[in-house]
Symmetry: C2
Subunit: 139 residues, 2 copies
DNA sequence: AAGTTGTTTAGAACAGTTCTAAAAACTGCA
DNA sequence: TGCAGTTTTTAGAACTGTTCTAAACAACTT
């Protein structure tokens, strides 16, 4: 009846392995911070600060490497809404964003109730990849 | 009956003055490159390269200063679609963008035929500022 | 023309990100 | 469990786009 935490770290290991990534201490620590709560939007710096609090040593270079690997593996999505820094989004499903200025906060909203109609056809020689809707709001 | 170009530079001077900016040689040269043709999407580097071709000396620092001033004056709009660099858009009206990857090209499309319906209300304590639609396309 | 103020400039500085190459750690196999 | 082979991590350097500094210069006012 006690809470079972024993499998948690193994789950992340398995998930990393499934993505073709060795489950190293650093990657597991980062995956834990990223994926064990609900959906998140982090920057490299913010994630680095968070993982440092877990007392597992992770360099900033590894945070960048790992974010890029996770993104390439489809575990994260990169979001660019403001000059100078990237956000990484644990929600890889189809959704859109509120961007709160000047706080720099990102909030998801589902795309299934949103209709984007009347888009022109893609320019010659290109094909559609994705439609991003960014709702910029002010405090 | 000859073509009248004599007023052109004065027009830019007037426009700059109207925006509260002294019509210096550099600002007029940049305004000319930016606004004398149709709508454009430039980066600081690309604009710097272009204005250098006019043989009027303009430093990169001035290009950045001027782009920021023009944006603050409402003459330009800043567009952020990819990590690492800003685009500046001479089209300040309401419109949306195609972003061609990996070229980094931006193309306008009018927003008056596009419907974005079903957006959730802005988060508590915020008010709507703008809705950006970015259609990402691949070659 | 002189004085005042605003602008431009080269170069330094800065922020975010990527690179380098050496040390450390993971994995498969004895 | 030890070892070899390979991947990962790391500190720090490097790099890119952008901003800052403060001195020279140019525009406007009188
Ligand atoms: Mn990258
Ligand atoms: Mn700026
Ligand atoms: Zn999101
Ligand atoms: Zn545009």
């Amino acid at each position: 009846m006690g809470q079972d935490m024993s499998g948690t770290s193994l789950d992340f290991s398995a998930r990393l392995r499934a993505a073709g990534l060795r489950p190293t201490r650093q990657r597991v620590a980062l995956a834990r911070v990223l994926f064990e709560a609900g959906h998140r939007h982090v920057t490299a710096e913010s994630l680095h600060a968070e993982v440092k609090a877990t007392r597992i040593p992770v360099s900033l270079a590894t945070v960048y490497n790992t974010l890029n690997q996770f993104r390439d593996a489809g575990l994260l999505r990169e979001v660019v809404v403001a000059p100078g820094r990237s956000y990484f989004d644990t929600n890889t499903g189809h959704h859109h964003h509120f961007y709160v200025e000047p706080d720099g906060e990102l909030h998801d909203f589902p795309s299934d109730k949103v209709t984007v109609a009347g888009l022109p056809p893609p320019p010659k020689g290109t094909r559609l990849n994705r439609v991003d809707v960014i709702v910029r709001v002010k405090r």
